[in-house]
């Protein structure tokens, strides 16, 4: 009576930790199989062959692979026409070599990525695939400006925003106008705090903290490189150069919500929402304004967090994360980052991450994130067959 389940189709970087972990997760329920498609191949051939109709399709991050990164930069070359943002023609991209930590023109990369996603969507919609995350929603989540607008329209609590920032002078004038003297500047298309700058203004003084350093390329332009530890800046002219360099990538400004502390560190919370419900919850504690684990933050569990902030506050964080994901109804999962302010005025969503479900060995009710995703799609399939479709 029940048709054999179509294999889950997955677009990923073969051999990456994400691919390996997802494969392991799929092997647990015995009757599921997996067909992998490589990002590199799909970008090369422009095609992703899916035989089965009605299969689940998962798109994973194209990150951490130089060939794929370069292919996306090439693909974005013709689309990156806006002169405000850094770009490079395809021939020049072709000469670039891998340079770990270097932030390549991220707007161009994003445009290539978005184009690849929309091509994929058009071709696979014919096969009636069931998207684990709608490609269009992935591209919105990978654009912090668009994601903020969507969340603001839905009434999700997010920090006060300053919009797209042209450069240092624009940022400072907006800060003065709004009297917002502590601001986060974020790349619209950056992940893991890449390119982020925290800026404080006060009584003629300025200070900034960044996750990247400035370098000069062989061609003579300034570029950014991710740093292993955050950097403090006190000089006006350096901060101006830094902010201008960040804004060349397309950047937004938003209020630097004073994060509540814990163990003499500040913290934020990553909540993975799967199937509309908050599942994995992890607190990240940091001595610096940035709470990313690769920048030295440490983790605390959901139980520890609940104990620390109380049941009510914990629940309201989970609810706010779920509300944020209602802005992405075609996405089975997403990672939502939230902060509690020092004044404890309720949680605020500072980010949604399309690929925010990589939390190996963090279990919620016995399952890791990928296990939850599989469970929820199995439930959805069961519902569909029960209602006769």
């Amino acid at each position: 009576m029940i048709d054999a389940m179509a294999p889950i189709q997955c677009l990923w970087i073969p051999g990456s930790p994400r691919a390996l972990l997802f494969t392991q997760a799929v092997q647990k329920p015995a009757d599921t199989t997996l067909v992998g498609h490589s990002w590199a191949e799909v970008l090369e051939t422009g095609d992703c062959e899916v035989k089965d109709r009605n299969a689940w399709f998962r798109i994973d991050s194209p990150g951490r692979d130089w060939e794929v990164e370069r292919a996306l930069l090439k693909r974005g070359a013709l689309l990156a026409a806006d002169e405000r943002y850094a770009s490079a023609p395809e021939e020049r991209v072709a000469t670039w070599v891998e340079d770990p930590g270097r932030i390549w023109p991220s707007r161009q990369h994003f445009l290539g990525f978005r184009d690849a996603l929309s091509t994929l969507r058009a071709s696979l919609d014919e096969k009636e695939v069931k998207w684990m995350q709608d490609p269009q929603e992935i591209s919105i989540m990978c654009d912090k400006h668009a994601a903020r607008e969507r969340m603001a329209a839905a009434g999700v609590r997010i920090p006060h925003g300053l919009g797209l920032i042209d450069g240092f002078d624009h940022l400072v004038s907006l800060m003065e106008e709004t009297r917002l003297n502590r601001v986060f500047l974020k790349l619209c298309h950056g992940s893991s705090a890449s390119g982020a700058v925290a800026i404080a203004l006060g009584s003629g003084r300025i200070r900034a903290y960044s996750t990247s350093t400035m370098e000069r390329s062989a061609e003579g332009d300034t570029f950014l490189r991710n740093s292993r530890s955050p950097i403090e800046w006190n000089g006006l002219s350096e901060i101006r150069r830094l902010v201008d360099a960040v804004c060349r990538h397309r950047a937004i400004g938003e209020a630097w919500v004073p994060k509540a502390g814990w163990e003499d560190r500040r913290f934020d919370v990553r909540i993975v929402v799967i199937g509309g419900r908050a599942r994995q919850v992890v607190a990240r504690l940091s001595k610096t304004p940035f709470t990313n684990l690769q920048l030295g933050a440490t983790r605390r569990s959901a139980e520890e967090l609940r104990e620390r902030i109380g049941f009510q506050a914990f629940v309201s964080m989970c609810e706010e994360a779920e509300r944020a994901m209602t802005c992405f109804p075609g996405s089975l999962h997403g990672g939502v980052d939230l902060v509690l302010s020092t004044g404890n005025q309720g949680p605020r969503v500072i980010e949604v991450n399309a690929f925010g479900d990589l939390l190996p060995s963090v279990r919620h009710e016995g399952l890791e994130t990928y296990g939850w995703e599989l469970k929820v799609i199995a439930e959805r399939d069961a519902q569909v067959s029960a209602t006769g479709r």
Binding site: H160, R179, L180, N181, R182, A200, L201, G202, S203, R205, R207, E232, A255, W256, P258, K259, A260, G261, W262, E263, D264, R265, R266, K287, P289, S341, T342, G343, N344, Q345
Partner: protein, 303 residues
């Protein structure tokens, strides 16, 4: 500490005060605002002190008072507290500046002269102030009940250190000074500490903290010959730039062996010097060892 607001102090819970709320005399209320809070800290504190139940509170905490102007001075708050002295007859503990690095750069906190507070509250037992800019502590003031004094700065000015040491504090048991770094305002010298080290100032001192200092090595060396260490039970040189130089001096100082507590956490000492210290002082806190890198040693709180 610097990244986390108080949740309790001196055994009392610390809670944010919301105007109009009922006052629980056991709580130490904190007064603070965000950039978009509609009432000011002054208005909050005025509402608080106008409530007759405030008469029973024994401690309070001044939090981020500056709203959207990180450089706004604390002077008005001092004035308000001075004016409210008859409404706060039992007040004996003030934490002035529970401001964490997410709320303001520590070196930007704009303090003011605290001496009017000391005059208005002669029964004060515990006083903490954070932020060194324009901080005044008065000269030669007598505070007969003060048991603990803590001054936390990213960089203490010479004059502030002189003022702290000029206070007449016969009951003082705990003194903690965060001296900081010259990048953020430290203009003092170790020689200013001589009267303190000679034990001529505070006859009841039990605990001495000279923390967050970029002259930690020199302080350690000076302490080895200082009569004060024969009086105190507990010494805290944490958060500073202590290296092998200072650590070796401490390890080779027999008179320090009577200390019950020695806190050196956040330091730049080598494994071998740490071993020597651990052998001399069982229980010494050597946590949070930092690597000497190209930037040289740095204090824990200097921003």
């Amino acid at each position: 500490m610097i990244n986390e607001n108080l949740t309790s102090w001196l055994g009392h819970p610390v809670e944010d005060y919301l105007p109009g709320q009922q006052i629980n005399p056991q709580v130490y209320y904190r007064f603070r605002v965000d950039w978009d809070t509609e009432v000011s800290v002054i208005e909050m504190m005025a509402a608080f002190t106008a409530d007759p139940s405030a008469a029973d509170i024994t401690g309070l905490v001044v939090g981020a008072w500056f709203g959207d102007d990180s450089g706004a001075s604390s002077e008005e708050i001092v004035q308000l507290l001075v004016g409210a002295r008859e409404r706060l007859p039992k007040l004996e503990a003030i934490f002035f500046g529970d401001v964490i690095s997410e709320e303001n750069e520590i070196s930007w906190i704009q303090q003011s002269d605290m001496s009017p507070l000391f005059a208005a509250y002669p029964g004060l037992k515990h006083f903490v102030v954070r932020g060194g800019n324009d901080l005044g502590l008065g000269s030669n003031l007598h505070l007969g009940s003060l048991k603990s004094l803590t001054v936390q700065t990213g960089g203490m000015e010479r004059a502030t250190l002189d003022q702290a040491l000029s206070l007449d504090l016969p009951a003082l048991e705990r003194l903690e000074l965060w001296l900081g770094t010259d990048g953020y305002g430290w203009t003092g010298e170790v020689s200013q500490l001589k009267p303190l080290f000679d034990d001529t100032l505070f006859p009841n001192l039990r605990h001495l903290g000279l923390r967050n200092s970029e002259v930690a090595d020199a302080i350690a060396e000076a302490l080895c010959a200082a009569p004060i260490v024969d009086r105190i039970d507990s010494l805290d040189l944490s958060l500073g730039t202590l290296t092998d130089k200072g650590g070796t001096a401490l390890a080779n100082c027999p008179r320090l062996k009577r200390l019950k507590d020695l806190d050196l956490h956040h330091h730049f000492m080598s494994e071998s010097v740490m071993k020597g210290l651990a052998a001399e002082f069982p229980g010494v806190n050597l946590a949070d060892r930092q690597d000497l890198d190209k930037y040289g040693p740095y204090v824990a709180i200097g921003e």
